[in-house]
Structure formats: C-alpha cells, structure tokens
Subunit: 336 residues, 2 copies
C-alpha cells in the first residue's frame, strides 16, 4: 500500500483542503461548531469574564513517551487558562504541515488531540491548515489558542504575595523535558521517563474552592520551576526561598540531569502546577493536591520572604545557599 | 554595526525570551492586556455572542508591494470575523521564528501589525514566541486568532439564498496573489501590482445596516472568488451564474494571468468581499460599496439560480458558458 502524503495543494483552500477537512479533521475532531464549516465559530454567550491565551507547539520529535505534539497542544493551552483561574472551554487549532508528511501521522496527532480535548473538557471549534515545502516545519507545527471563563471571585496576582506565604509544587519536576530529550538523543534508559503532559484544571478547580488563600498559580513549562519563581519574585517585589530537599524530582530524572549537566529546576513540565498559598491555607492546599492522582507527590517547597526584590535563594541539600537565576542561553530547545 | 539575530534561546522562556517581549513586542504592540505579562489576557465582558477564528500566515516573501506578513496576519483574521457579521476586537499573536532571523525584520513586522491593528480597530492581547533551527520556517510564520462580537439581529447563511438573489464583489479580484507572485518570481512589471490587503469591516458594518437583505458574505482569499462560489453553491443547494464581463480585474493582473496561465477567478484576495444580497437590496448594497474607498469598483457579478445544486456557471466574454470548478492541485502556494 502506498502511503498518502500531504501535498502543497492541501493548503491552498481548494478541493484537497476541503477533502482533508471532511475526511480527517471532521471525522476525528468533529462537533457542531466545526461542522458548520464557516470562516469562524459562533460561540454561546457566557456570564464569566473571558480569558484568552495562545501557544504554538514545535516539539521535536512529534511523539515521545507519555505524549505527542497533539496532546501537548491541547493540555498546554488549557493549563495556561487554568492557572489564570479560568475553566478552559474552547480551542482553535491551526496546523502548519510539511509537504510530504504522512497523512497517517496527521491522523494520529488529530486523534490524540481529540482524546486530550475529551479529557480536558474542551472543544476545538475552529481551525486552519497551511502547507509549507519539504524541509520546512519538521513534519508539523500546531498553534492552539484558547478561551476560558474566569470563576467568580477569583483574584490571582503576584501583587497579593506576602512574606510567610508558602510555595507549593504539585509533583516531581522535569519529567516532560527529560522524556523528550531522552527520545531525541536516543538515550538507553533502564527506566524510561514519561512526559507528565496532563490538564491541571481538575487540581486548579478544587484549589480555587479555598478562596482567597490561593494567591498565585503558574504551570512551570519552558524554563521550568526556576523561571516561574524568578519572574514571580521580580513582579511581586519580594524574595523567595526554596529548599532543595523539598523539591520532588524522580531519581531517573535526577540521574539524567546529572550525567548531561542539566539542572532539573530549569527543565520543562507539562502537567504540573506551582502555587503560592497563605501560610494558614498551605496545609489544606497540600491535602487537596495530595488527594488527587495528579498531585499525589505535591510538596511545600519554599516560602515568600521580605527582602531583596526579585531574589530566589535555594537552600541546597548540602546545607549551602545559592542564588537561582533566570535561564540565559537555551538549555533544551524545541521542548514544547 | 553587527546585526542582531534571533537565537534559539529567544524561544526557551528564559532571559532572552523575556528581553524580546519587553524591548520589542511591548514597545511596538503594547497595551494594558499585553503589559500584564500573564499567561493569558483577562478580557472584558461583552453582551454580543463571540465569534472565534484562527489563521496561520506563511506567505513568501515576508514583504511584498502593498503589504507584508504582519499586516496580512491582522487583516486576514479580522476579515474572517467580519464576514461572519462580527466586529473584530481582540487578537492573539503567536510567532514561530527561524534562528538567525534579523531582529530588525521582526521589529518591522511587529510595527506593521501595530499599524494594521490601529487601522482595523483591534488589539493584540496575548502572544507567544517559539524559535526553530536555521533552515526551518522561512524567517517567520505568524498565527493570529481573533475574537469578534456578532451584531444583534444578524443572520448570514448559505441556507438563506434564493433564486434571484444577486452576487456582488467589492472590487477588482486577484491583486494580492499576483502582487506576491510578481515579487517572488521577480517579474519586471511596468505597472507594479499592489496587494489589496485591508480590513473590510468598515464595508461590512455599513452593509449590515441593510438588515435581512444581506444573506451571505465571504472574503475570497486562498482559492479566490471561484472557490467561494463553488462552496456556496454546494452548501446553499442552488446554482450560481456569473458574467465574466461584470467581474472587475485590473488590466495588469489580467495580463500577468494570461502570460503565466493563471485564472484570476482562483487568485487570492486579502481586502475584498463577496456577498449575496436579495434582488431588491442589490442596488442599495452596490451604492454602499461604491461610496466607500474600499468598494469604489464594486460590481454585481451574478445571480443565484434554481437548478443543479452546486453548479457555478460562467458566461464568458465571448458569449460562451463554462463550468467553474473547485481548484484541484495548487495554483499559487504560500500566498498567505
């Protein structure tokens, strides 16, 4: 059987464009919004304030242990909405395809997006497909843009941080980055590392029930936990201290990081949550996290301090202290 | 002076990512939504129903007479909202940059987007930047996704078409496609062809005042006027007849099409409108179009007919008839 391939004409808006929409996208991802085949989707009115976010996905390779570019493009955008306190609801999906891509690969990616949408409780309501010549685009790139609706009474902001607030992470860090790196570099691992790609909305939704004690949330993707904390320290006007021995890292992730000279603090995650909670609310937040499958290994990793604005200090396992700085120069390109 | 170039690290979420956001994007495109530097934008509530659309732009070359990829990425997405009857209001903007791109080029593109936003009355409220290795992405690709709000009482749909309705276009067709082609193929033209890239919302807004007599609108981009009419004939269940001598085409566009073997009916436009209006409302719609600078050369080009569903018939200048079919096989790749 010959393999069906993507041609430039699949992106020209004519017969082949229409064909791939009808025989692939609608079959796999169809819903009443997409099926209207309009230039856009007419969405229902909602009472909450809309939250809007966009991300392009250029991860290499397209498939890796625990996930693929399609799943990532759904969960990643949903997570950006979730950490703003908004329930993800509608996604757009725009493909840039490389001429010569196997249509079967596109079908697998679209099917993975459909499954991820189901799990995240969102719908893809409008889309676009462009095709570029062979040698461009590494198979495919995906953009998803998402709309969510803010829960009433939610106010998350770095400006709400106060000394004494606790910093929590929802589980072991670095899984996604190392999973992608290991397959890209063909590392032979005794215990394969799987990406943590997941929608964190179920965690966020339960945490928001705690009300005002939840002050800030972020998903530590590109740049990892360190980058989130550095930006947070800067924008909150406080310093942040974290304890290395409290930060969960899987042994296999730590091992690969040591061999290759990476710092897990900077490695990307795709299903984790960093949050700042008032001192009083921290234990309850930890209980909520630990009672959910996605947060079983959650941990209180540090504390907001008075003191030099923008500083992040790590108390090392060996009893020392070191400054945590923003990443300068890329550590792991094309990780999402 | 050495040229500053895009590095892979500009896409890794660390210091350089932050720097380009602060020193380039915020300076050129800044507004209070972007300046929040959050994972997403918190938008105001609106009373109308939201309309949602996405498009990626991969046009080659990045700059062409009458426009560039940045301007196109704003107007194109605004126009998709406009033809749904929705006033464009918010855009997201996601760049995929090629390592080695001159930062000055990116600045020019962003400045062009800012100017286009100003003209179209929209704001870019959230964004993303990824970087891929040299040799990928032809400089840069852009995705914009847009939200508009439907005007009350608007119902545009192919299902509303009836025999006798008139088909109008807002001006000469094929300018955009030929402008891009001419610069890409380095054609030496005595009269250069400029892209028609523009926001058509001002035209649409005035036309919507005519109420129910406006039945359908579409912007004839990839695949051109022919593709819009073929899809419309199919989805409306009617046939459409058009007259070649009524379809405005600039002499220079017609000339290049003849030399290169293109049919202007299939060439892309980026600032034109195709609409179907009741027989009774057609002259008023034409007056509205002609009284606006964007529609001065508007024309009634055809009519909806009973009769075989999906058929589009062209009455040629020479007095013959031919079927207009959907494009099969690409005519002009990478045109938007």
């Amino acid at each position: 059987m010959t393999k069906e391939l993507i041609l430039l004409a699949h992106g020209d808006g004519g017969r082949l464009s229409r064909e791939i929409v009808e025989t692939l996208f609608l079959k796999v991802l169809g819903n009443r919004y997409l099926e209207a085949l309009d230039d856009g989707a007419l969405l229902p009115k909602r009472s909450g304030r809309p939250v809007y976010t966009t991300d392009s996905y250029v991860v290499k390779p397209l498939f890796f242990p625990g996930g693929d570019i399609g799943m990532l493009s759904v969960f990643g955008t949903c997570n950006d909405l979730s950490v703003m306190g908004a329930r993800p609801e509608f996604l757009s999906c725009a493909y840039i395809l490389e001429e010569g891509l196997e249509i079967e690969t596109l079908r697998r990616v679209a099917a993975s997006m459909a499954e991820a949408c189901e799990r995240a409780g969102v719908k893809i309501v409008t889309g676009d497909t462009k095709v570029v010549e062979r040698g461009k685009a590494d198979g495919l790139y995906i953009n998803t843009t998402g709309i969510g609706y803010l829960r009433d009474g939610i106010h998350l902001s770095p400006a709400r941080l106060k000394p004494g607030d606790r910093v929590l992470v929802s589980g072991p860090i670095g899984d996604h980055g190392i999973a992608v790196l290991a397959v890209r570099e063909r590392l032979a691992l005794s215990t394969p590392v799987r990406s943590d790609a997941a929608s964190i909305w179920p965690l966020v939704e339960k945490l928001l029930d705690l009300g005002g004690s939840i002050k800030f949330m972020r998903d530590p993707t590109r740049g990892g936990l360190a980058t989130v904390l550095c930006e947070l320290a800067k924008s909150s006007g406080h310093s942040i201290e974290i304890r290395e021995d409290a930060i969960p890292v899987r042994d296999e992730v730590r091992g690969i990081c040591e061999i290759l000279g990476f710092d897990p603090l900077y490695v990307a995650n795709e299903g984790k949550l960093v949050l700042v909670v008032s001192k009083k609310g921290a234990e309850r937040a930890l209980d909520i996290l630990c009672s959910h499958p996605l947060g079983q290994e959650a941990s209180i990793v540090g504390e907001v301090k008075e003191g030099p604005r923008g500083l992040v200090v790590l108390h090392t396992r060996a009893g020392g202290r070191r400054l945590v700085d923003m990443l300068s120069g890329e550590q792991l390109p094309r990780i999402c």
